[in-house]
Symmetry: C2
Subunit: 188 residues, 2 copies
DNA sequence: TATGTTAGTGAACACTTTGTACGGTAATAT
DNA sequence: ATATTACCGTACAAAGTGTTCACTAACATA
Protein backbone atom coordinates (compact mmCIF):
# COMPACT_ATOMS: atom_id res chain seq x y z
CA UNK A 1 0.00 0.00 0.00
CA UNK A 2 1.20 3.46 -0.95
CA UNK A 3 2.75 5.41 1.91
CA UNK A 4 0.53 8.40 1.05
CA UNK A 5 -2.53 6.24 1.22
CA UNK A 6 -1.49 4.85 4.56
CA UNK A 7 -0.85 8.32 5.91
CA UNK A 8 -4.18 9.83 4.88
CA UNK A 9 -5.96 6.71 6.05
CA UNK A 10 -4.32 7.10 9.44
CA UNK A 11 -5.12 10.82 9.44
CA UNK A 12 -8.78 10.08 8.79
CA UNK A 13 -8.96 7.35 11.43
CA UNK A 14 -7.15 9.58 13.90
CA UNK A 15 -9.39 12.56 13.28
CA UNK A 16 -12.47 10.38 13.44
CA UNK A 17 -11.44 8.76 16.72
CA UNK A 18 -10.57 12.15 18.22
CA UNK A 19 -13.97 13.52 17.23
CA UNK A 20 -15.75 10.45 18.60
CA UNK A 21 -14.11 11.20 21.92
CA UNK A 22 -15.65 14.66 21.85
CA UNK A 23 -19.17 14.11 20.57
CA UNK A 24 -21.58 11.46 19.37
CA UNK A 25 -21.27 9.75 16.03
CA UNK A 26 -24.32 11.38 14.52
CA UNK A 27 -23.15 14.82 15.51
CA UNK A 28 -20.00 14.36 13.43
CA UNK A 29 -20.15 15.37 9.76
CA UNK A 30 -17.86 14.35 6.94
CA UNK A 31 -16.92 18.02 6.84
CA UNK A 32 -15.74 17.81 10.46
CA UNK A 33 -13.56 14.81 9.68
CA UNK A 34 -12.09 16.53 6.62
CA UNK A 35 -11.28 19.64 8.67
CA UNK A 36 -9.85 17.69 11.59
CA UNK A 37 -7.76 15.43 9.36
CA UNK A 38 -6.76 18.42 7.24
CA UNK A 39 -7.28 16.70 3.92
CA UNK A 40 -9.09 17.49 0.71
CA UNK A 41 -12.74 16.72 0.28
CA UNK A 42 -12.21 14.41 -2.70
CA UNK A 43 -9.54 12.53 -0.78
CA UNK A 44 -11.98 11.43 1.89
CA UNK A 45 -14.39 10.04 -0.66
CA UNK A 46 -11.52 8.31 -2.47
CA UNK A 47 -10.96 6.30 0.72
CA UNK A 48 -14.43 5.83 2.16
CA UNK A 49 -17.75 5.75 0.41
CA UNK A 50 -19.69 7.08 3.40
CA UNK A 51 -19.24 7.88 7.09
CA UNK A 52 -20.85 4.56 7.97
CA UNK A 53 -18.28 2.62 5.97
CA UNK A 54 -15.52 4.52 7.75
CA UNK A 55 -16.92 3.41 11.10
CA UNK A 56 -17.29 -0.14 9.83
CA UNK A 57 -13.65 -0.28 8.74
CA UNK A 58 -12.51 1.24 12.01
CA UNK A 59 -14.46 -1.43 13.85
CA UNK A 60 -12.88 -4.10 11.67
CA UNK A 61 -9.45 -2.87 12.60
CA UNK A 62 -10.13 -2.45 16.30
CA UNK A 63 -12.11 -5.64 16.81
CA UNK A 64 -10.19 -7.89 14.51
CA UNK A 65 -7.38 -8.40 16.99
CA UNK A 66 -9.51 -8.59 20.11
CA UNK A 67 -11.98 -11.11 18.79
CA UNK A 68 -9.28 -13.22 17.18
CA UNK A 69 -7.30 -13.61 20.39
CA UNK A 70 -10.52 -14.16 22.33
CA UNK A 71 -11.37 -16.92 19.91
CA UNK A 72 -7.96 -18.49 20.49
CA UNK A 73 -8.46 -18.39 24.23
CA UNK A 74 -11.95 -19.77 23.87
CA UNK A 75 -10.54 -22.75 22.00
CA UNK A 76 -7.62 -23.21 24.34
CA UNK A 77 -5.03 -22.37 21.71
CA UNK A 78 -3.60 -19.47 23.65
CA UNK A 79 -0.33 -20.50 25.32
CA UNK A 80 1.20 -17.10 25.97
CA UNK A 81 1.95 -15.45 29.27
CA UNK A 82 -0.77 -12.83 29.14
CA UNK A 83 -3.16 -14.12 31.77
CA UNK A 84 -3.75 -17.47 33.38
CA UNK A 85 -5.20 -20.28 31.38
CA UNK A 86 -8.14 -20.38 33.77
CA UNK A 87 -9.19 -16.82 33.04
CA UNK A 88 -12.56 -16.58 31.40
CA UNK A 89 -13.01 -15.20 27.94
CA UNK A 90 -14.90 -12.28 29.43
CA UNK A 91 -12.10 -11.34 31.76
CA UNK A 92 -9.70 -11.49 28.86
CA UNK A 93 -11.92 -9.18 26.84
CA UNK A 94 -12.22 -6.72 29.71
CA UNK A 95 -8.46 -6.63 30.26
CA UNK A 96 -7.92 -6.10 26.59
CA UNK A 97 -10.41 -3.25 26.53
CA UNK A 98 -8.83 -1.57 29.51
CA UNK A 99 -5.21 -1.98 28.61
CA UNK A 100 -4.77 -1.79 24.90
CA UNK A 101 -7.74 -0.28 23.22
CA UNK A 102 -8.72 3.05 24.61
CA UNK A 103 -9.91 3.93 21.14
CA UNK A 104 -12.71 1.47 21.55
CA UNK A 105 -13.68 3.05 24.83
CA UNK A 106 -13.98 6.41 23.12
CA UNK A 107 -16.31 4.89 20.62
CA UNK A 108 -18.35 3.07 23.20
CA UNK A 109 -18.65 6.00 25.53
CA UNK A 110 -19.90 8.35 22.86
CA UNK A 111 -23.66 8.12 22.98
CA UNK A 112 -25.90 7.09 20.15
CA UNK A 113 -23.43 4.79 18.58
CA UNK A 114 -25.64 1.91 17.65
CA UNK A 115 -23.58 0.94 14.62
CA UNK A 116 -20.61 0.29 16.85
CA UNK A 117 -22.67 -1.47 19.51
CA UNK A 118 -24.25 -3.62 16.82
CA UNK A 119 -20.81 -4.57 15.57
CA UNK A 120 -19.68 -5.41 19.10
CA UNK A 121 -22.74 -7.55 19.73
CA UNK A 122 -22.46 -9.38 16.43
CA UNK A 123 -18.81 -10.20 17.05
CA UNK A 124 -19.62 -11.43 20.53
CA UNK A 125 -22.47 -13.57 19.29
CA UNK A 126 -20.11 -15.48 17.02
CA UNK A 127 -17.66 -15.90 19.86
CA UNK A 128 -20.30 -16.98 22.36
CA UNK A 129 -21.92 -19.29 19.91
CA UNK A 130 -18.72 -21.21 19.29
CA UNK A 131 -17.56 -21.00 22.89
CA UNK A 132 -20.77 -21.91 24.72
CA UNK A 133 -23.54 -23.00 22.42
CA UNK A 134 -21.47 -25.34 20.28
CA UNK A 135 -19.52 -26.70 23.25
CA UNK A 136 -22.73 -27.30 25.18
CA UNK A 137 -21.90 -24.97 28.02
CA UNK A 138 -25.33 -23.37 28.12
CA UNK A 139 -27.48 -24.44 31.04
CA UNK A 140 -31.01 -23.92 29.84
CA UNK A 141 -32.01 -26.42 27.21
CA UNK A 142 -35.64 -25.36 27.18
CA UNK A 143 -34.98 -21.82 25.98
CA UNK A 144 -34.03 -21.11 22.36
CA UNK A 145 -30.28 -21.12 21.92
CA UNK A 146 -30.57 -17.99 19.83
CA UNK A 147 -32.27 -16.18 22.68
CA UNK A 148 -29.58 -17.20 25.14
CA UNK A 149 -26.70 -16.22 22.87
CA UNK A 150 -28.36 -12.87 22.24
CA UNK A 151 -28.95 -12.40 25.96
CA UNK A 152 -25.36 -13.14 26.92
CA UNK A 153 -23.74 -10.99 24.28
CA UNK A 154 -25.97 -7.96 24.76
CA UNK A 155 -25.64 -8.25 28.53
CA UNK A 156 -21.87 -8.21 28.22
CA UNK A 157 -21.93 -5.16 25.96
CA UNK A 158 -24.29 -3.48 28.38
CA UNK A 159 -21.98 -4.35 31.27
CA UNK A 160 -19.02 -2.78 29.49
CA UNK A 161 -21.11 0.24 28.59
CA UNK A 162 -22.21 0.66 32.22
CA UNK A 163 -18.58 0.31 33.32
CA UNK A 164 -17.42 3.06 31.00
CA UNK A 165 -20.34 5.38 31.74
CA UNK A 166 -19.49 5.23 35.44
CA UNK A 167 -15.81 5.98 34.89
CA UNK A 168 -14.32 2.46 34.93
CA UNK A 169 -13.93 2.43 38.71
CA UNK A 170 -13.95 -1.36 38.94
CA UNK A 171 -11.07 -3.61 37.94
CA UNK A 172 -11.56 -6.05 35.06
CA UNK A 173 -11.59 -8.84 37.66
CA UNK A 174 -14.39 -7.21 39.65
CA UNK A 175 -16.43 -6.50 36.56
CA UNK A 176 -16.00 -10.05 35.26
CA UNK A 177 -17.26 -11.21 38.66
CA UNK A 178 -20.34 -8.96 38.36
CA UNK A 179 -21.09 -10.27 34.92
CA UNK A 180 -20.55 -13.91 35.72
CA UNK A 181 -22.72 -13.53 38.82
CA UNK A 182 -25.76 -12.46 36.85
CA UNK A 183 -25.02 -15.10 34.23
CA UNK A 184 -24.92 -18.16 36.52
CA UNK A 185 -28.44 -19.15 35.48
CA UNK A 186 -27.39 -19.21 31.89
CA UNK A 187 -23.82 -20.44 31.66
CA UNK A 188 -22.57 -23.68 33.21
CA UNK B 1 -56.08 23.32 22.89
CA UNK B 2 -57.06 24.70 19.52
CA UNK B 3 -58.59 22.19 17.15
CA UNK B 4 -56.20 23.28 14.41
CA UNK B 5 -53.23 22.69 16.68
CA UNK B 6 -54.49 19.26 17.65
CA UNK B 7 -55.03 18.35 14.01
CA UNK B 8 -51.58 19.34 12.80
CA UNK B 9 -50.01 17.75 15.85
CA UNK B 10 -51.81 14.53 15.03
CA UNK B 11 -50.83 14.87 11.38
CA UNK B 12 -47.19 15.23 12.34
CA UNK B 13 -47.26 12.31 14.79
CA UNK B 14 -49.09 10.18 12.23
CA UNK B 15 -46.67 10.99 9.44
CA UNK B 16 -43.71 10.42 11.71
CA UNK B 17 -44.98 7.04 12.93
CA UNK B 18 -45.76 5.96 9.38
CA UNK B 19 -42.26 6.91 8.25
CA UNK B 20 -40.70 5.13 11.23
CA UNK B 21 -42.48 1.98 10.05
CA UNK B 22 -40.77 2.34 6.70
CA UNK B 23 -37.23 3.36 7.53
CA UNK B 24 -34.86 4.13 10.38
CA UNK B 25 -35.10 7.31 12.43
CA UNK B 26 -31.90 8.79 11.10
CA UNK B 27 -32.96 8.24 7.51
CA UNK B 28 -36.01 10.44 8.06
CA UNK B 29 -35.63 14.17 7.45
CA UNK B 30 -37.82 17.01 8.66
CA UNK B 31 -38.59 17.55 4.98
CA UNK B 32 -39.95 13.99 4.76
CA UNK B 33 -42.22 14.57 7.74
CA UNK B 34 -43.46 17.87 6.30
CA UNK B 35 -44.23 16.22 2.97
CA UNK B 36 -45.89 13.17 4.52
CA UNK B 37 -47.96 15.27 6.94
CA UNK B 38 -48.71 17.76 4.15
CA UNK B 39 -48.10 20.86 6.22
CA UNK B 40 -46.08 24.01 5.82
CA UNK B 41 -42.45 24.16 6.81
CA UNK B 42 -42.96 26.90 9.39
CA UNK B 43 -45.82 24.94 10.94
CA UNK B 44 -43.56 22.05 11.86
CA UNK B 45 -41.09 24.31 13.61
CA UNK B 46 -43.96 26.08 15.39
CA UNK B 47 -44.78 22.73 17.03
CA UNK B 48 -41.40 21.05 17.49
CA UNK B 49 -38.00 22.59 17.90
CA UNK B 50 -36.17 19.63 16.33
CA UNK B 51 -36.76 16.09 15.12
CA UNK B 52 -35.36 14.78 18.40
CA UNK B 53 -37.92 16.71 20.44
CA UNK B 54 -40.66 15.29 18.25
CA UNK B 55 -39.47 11.77 19.06
CA UNK B 56 -39.21 12.64 22.72
CA UNK B 57 -42.80 13.92 22.84
CA UNK B 58 -44.01 10.89 20.92
CA UNK B 59 -42.27 8.67 23.48
CA UNK B 60 -43.87 10.65 26.30
CA UNK B 61 -47.29 10.01 24.83
CA UNK B 62 -46.75 6.34 24.06
CA UNK B 63 -44.95 5.41 27.27
CA UNK B 64 -46.87 7.57 29.67
CA UNK B 65 -49.81 5.18 29.79
CA UNK B 66 -47.83 1.96 29.75
CA UNK B 67 -45.43 2.90 32.50
CA UNK B 68 -48.16 4.43 34.66
CA UNK B 69 -50.28 1.29 34.63
CA UNK B 70 -47.19 -0.85 35.12
CA UNK B 71 -46.36 1.28 38.16
CA UNK B 72 -49.86 0.70 39.51
CA UNK B 73 -49.54 -3.04 39.05
CA UNK B 74 -46.10 -3.00 40.63
CA UNK B 75 -47.57 -1.35 43.70
CA UNK B 76 -50.62 -3.60 43.79
CA UNK B 77 -53.04 -0.78 43.11
CA UNK B 78 -54.42 -2.32 39.97
CA UNK B 79 -57.79 -3.95 40.69
CA UNK B 80 -59.20 -4.19 37.17
CA UNK B 81 -60.02 -7.24 35.13
CA UNK B 82 -57.12 -6.93 32.70
CA UNK B 83 -54.94 -9.85 33.79
CA UNK B 84 -54.59 -11.83 36.97
CA UNK B 85 -53.21 -10.20 40.05
CA UNK B 86 -50.38 -12.70 40.05
CA UNK B 87 -49.14 -11.70 36.61
CA UNK B 88 -45.70 -10.21 36.69
CA UNK B 89 -45.02 -6.65 35.70
CA UNK B 90 -43.04 -7.94 32.74
CA UNK B 91 -45.91 -10.03 31.45
CA UNK B 92 -48.17 -7.01 31.76
CA UNK B 93 -45.74 -4.91 29.76
CA UNK B 94 -45.45 -7.54 27.04
CA UNK B 95 -49.23 -7.89 26.75
CA UNK B 96 -49.56 -4.15 26.54
CA UNK B 97 -46.94 -3.94 23.83
CA UNK B 98 -48.57 -6.66 21.79
CA UNK B 99 -52.18 -5.62 22.15
CA UNK B 100 -52.43 -1.88 22.32
CA UNK B 101 -49.32 -0.22 21.11
CA UNK B 102 -48.26 -1.32 17.70
CA UNK B 103 -46.91 2.18 17.23
CA UNK B 104 -44.23 1.37 19.74
CA UNK B 105 -43.32 -1.76 17.86
CA UNK B 106 -42.81 0.27 14.72
CA UNK B 107 -40.44 2.49 16.61
CA UNK B 108 -38.58 -0.38 18.22
CA UNK B 109 -38.25 -2.42 15.08
CA UNK B 110 -36.78 0.41 13.06
CA UNK B 111 -33.06 0.11 13.44
CA UNK B 112 -30.75 2.71 14.82
CA UNK B 113 -33.28 4.13 17.18
CA UNK B 114 -31.17 4.63 20.22
CA UNK B 115 -33.11 7.65 21.44
CA UNK B 116 -36.20 5.51 21.74
CA UNK B 117 -34.33 2.59 23.30
CA UNK B 118 -32.72 4.96 25.77
CA UNK B 119 -36.14 6.30 26.70
CA UNK B 120 -37.47 2.78 27.14
CA UNK B 121 -34.53 1.77 29.34
CA UNK B 122 -34.74 4.87 31.49
CA UNK B 123 -38.46 4.37 32.08
CA UNK B 124 -37.87 0.74 32.98
CA UNK B 125 -35.07 1.62 35.36
CA UNK B 126 -37.41 3.81 37.38
CA UNK B 127 -40.02 1.09 37.41
CA UNK B 128 -37.56 -1.64 38.34
CA UNK B 129 -35.94 0.48 40.97
CA UNK B 130 -39.22 1.08 42.80
CA UNK B 131 -40.52 -2.43 42.17
CA UNK B 132 -37.45 -4.50 43.03
CA UNK B 133 -34.65 -2.46 44.48
CA UNK B 134 -36.73 -0.45 46.93
CA UNK B 135 -38.87 -3.43 47.88
CA UNK B 136 -35.80 -5.58 48.45
CA UNK B 137 -36.64 -8.13 45.81
CA UNK B 138 -33.14 -8.25 44.39
CA UNK B 139 -31.19 -11.36 45.26
CA UNK B 140 -27.59 -10.32 45.03
CA UNK B 141 -26.58 -7.99 47.80
CA UNK B 142 -22.91 -8.06 46.94
CA UNK B 143 -23.33 -6.50 43.51
CA UNK B 144 -24.08 -2.77 43.13
CA UNK B 145 -27.81 -2.13 42.99
CA UNK B 146 -27.26 0.23 40.10
CA UNK B 147 -25.60 -2.52 38.09
CA UNK B 148 -28.44 -4.93 38.74
CA UNK B 149 -31.16 -2.43 37.85
CA UNK B 150 -29.30 -1.57 34.66
CA UNK B 151 -28.86 -5.24 33.85
CA UNK B 152 -32.53 -6.08 34.33
CA UNK B 153 -33.92 -3.16 32.37
CA UNK B 154 -31.56 -3.46 29.43
CA UNK B 155 -32.08 -7.21 29.31
CA UNK B 156 -35.81 -6.69 29.13
CA UNK B 157 -35.49 -4.16 26.33
CA UNK B 158 -33.17 -6.53 24.53
CA UNK B 159 -35.66 -9.37 24.99
CA UNK B 160 -38.45 -7.29 23.47
CA UNK B 161 -36.17 -6.20 20.67
CA UNK B 162 -35.24 -9.84 19.96
CA UNK B 163 -38.92 -10.76 20.01
CA UNK B 164 -39.83 -8.13 17.44
CA UNK B 165 -36.83 -8.81 15.21
CA UNK B 166 -37.85 -12.45 14.95
CA UNK B 167 -41.45 -11.63 14.09
CA UNK B 168 -43.13 -11.95 17.53
CA UNK B 169 -43.70 -15.69 17.14
CA UNK B 170 -43.85 -16.28 20.90
CA UNK B 171 -46.81 -15.37 23.08
CA UNK B 172 -46.32 -12.76 25.82
CA UNK B 173 -46.54 -15.61 28.33
CA UNK B 174 -43.76 -17.58 26.65
CA UNK B 175 -41.55 -14.54 26.34
CA UNK B 176 -42.11 -13.58 29.98
CA UNK B 177 -41.05 -17.12 30.85
CA UNK B 178 -37.88 -16.79 28.81
CA UNK B 179 -37.03 -13.53 30.47
CA UNK B 180 -37.78 -14.64 33.98
CA UNK B 181 -35.75 -17.80 33.40
CA UNK B 182 -32.56 -15.90 32.68
CA UNK B 183 -33.31 -13.50 35.54
CA UNK B 184 -33.66 -16.07 38.32
CA UNK B 185 -30.17 -15.34 39.60
CA UNK B 186 -31.05 -11.71 39.97
CA UNK B 187 -34.67 -11.40 41.04
CA UNK B 188 -36.15 -13.23 44.04
C1' DT C 1 -73.19 37.93 13.93
C1' DA C 2 -69.35 40.81 14.37
C1' DT C 3 -64.53 41.06 16.11
C1' DG C 4 -60.00 40.40 17.82
C1' DT C 5 -56.83 36.54 18.24
C1' DT C 6 -54.33 32.74 16.80
C1' DA C 7 -52.62 29.01 13.59
C1' DG C 8 -51.44 27.68 9.19
C1' DT C 9 -49.78 28.91 4.37
C1' DG C 10 -46.33 29.43 0.89
C1' DA C 11 -42.61 31.67 -0.57
C1' DA C 12 -38.21 33.36 0.22
C1' DC C 13 -33.86 33.60 2.73
C1' DA C 14 -28.91 32.46 4.17
C1' DC C 15 -26.60 28.68 5.62
C1' DT C 16 -24.56 23.94 5.95
C1' DT C 17 -23.67 19.47 4.21
C1' DT C 18 -23.19 16.20 0.62
C1' DG C 19 -21.17 13.84 -3.25
C1' DT C 20 -18.91 14.52 -7.62
C1' DA C 21 -15.82 16.52 -11.11
C1' DC C 22 -11.74 18.79 -12.87
C1' DG C 23 -6.98 20.05 -14.09
C1' DG C 24 -2.69 20.79 -11.70
C1' DT C 25 1.06 19.20 -8.55
C1' DA C 26 3.94 16.25 -5.91
C1' DA C 27 5.16 11.75 -4.10
C1' DT C 28 5.85 7.11 -5.38
C1' DA C 29 7.31 2.69 -7.59
C1' DT C 30 9.94 0.58 -11.17
C1' DA D 1 14.29 8.95 -15.61
C1' DT D 2 9.60 8.05 -16.30
C1' DA D 3 4.97 6.62 -15.81
C1' DT D 4 1.72 6.12 -12.36
C1' DT D 5 -0.94 7.35 -8.71
C1' DA D 6 -2.60 10.14 -4.70
C1' DC D 7 -3.61 14.37 -3.11
C1' DC D 8 -4.92 19.29 -3.64
C1' DG D 9 -7.95 23.25 -4.45
C1' DT D 10 -11.74 24.76 -6.31
C1' DA D 11 -16.08 24.57 -8.04
C1' DC D 12 -20.65 22.71 -8.58
C1' DA D 13 -25.61 21.11 -8.11
C1' DA D 14 -28.59 19.11 -4.97
C1' DA D 15 -30.72 18.60 -0.64
C1' DG D 16 -31.73 19.86 4.05
C1' DT D 17 -32.01 23.26 7.90
C1' DG D 18 -34.07 26.87 10.55
C1' DT D 19 -36.02 31.45 10.26
C1' DT D 20 -38.80 35.37 8.56
C1' DC D 21 -42.77 37.61 6.52
C1' DA D 22 -47.14 39.05 4.79
C1' DC D 23 -51.51 36.83 3.77
C1' DT D 24 -55.48 33.95 4.78
C1' DA D 25 -58.61 31.10 7.28
C1' DA D 26 -60.22 29.14 11.47
C1' DC D 27 -61.21 29.92 16.04
C1' DA D 28 -63.27 31.70 20.68
C1' DT D 29 -66.04 34.95 22.64
C1' DA D 30 -69.09 38.67 23.37
Amino acid sequence: MDRRQRKTREAIFGAFTRLLGKRAYHQITVQDIIDEADIGRATFYAHFETKDYLLKELCDELFGHIIDTAMEIAHGQHHHSCGKATDSVFLHLLRHLQENDLNILYLLSSENNEIFLQYFKTSLKKLIHSQFAVQGKLKSSELPEDYLVNHISSSFVETVSWWIRRGMKESPEELAHYFESVMTTVIK
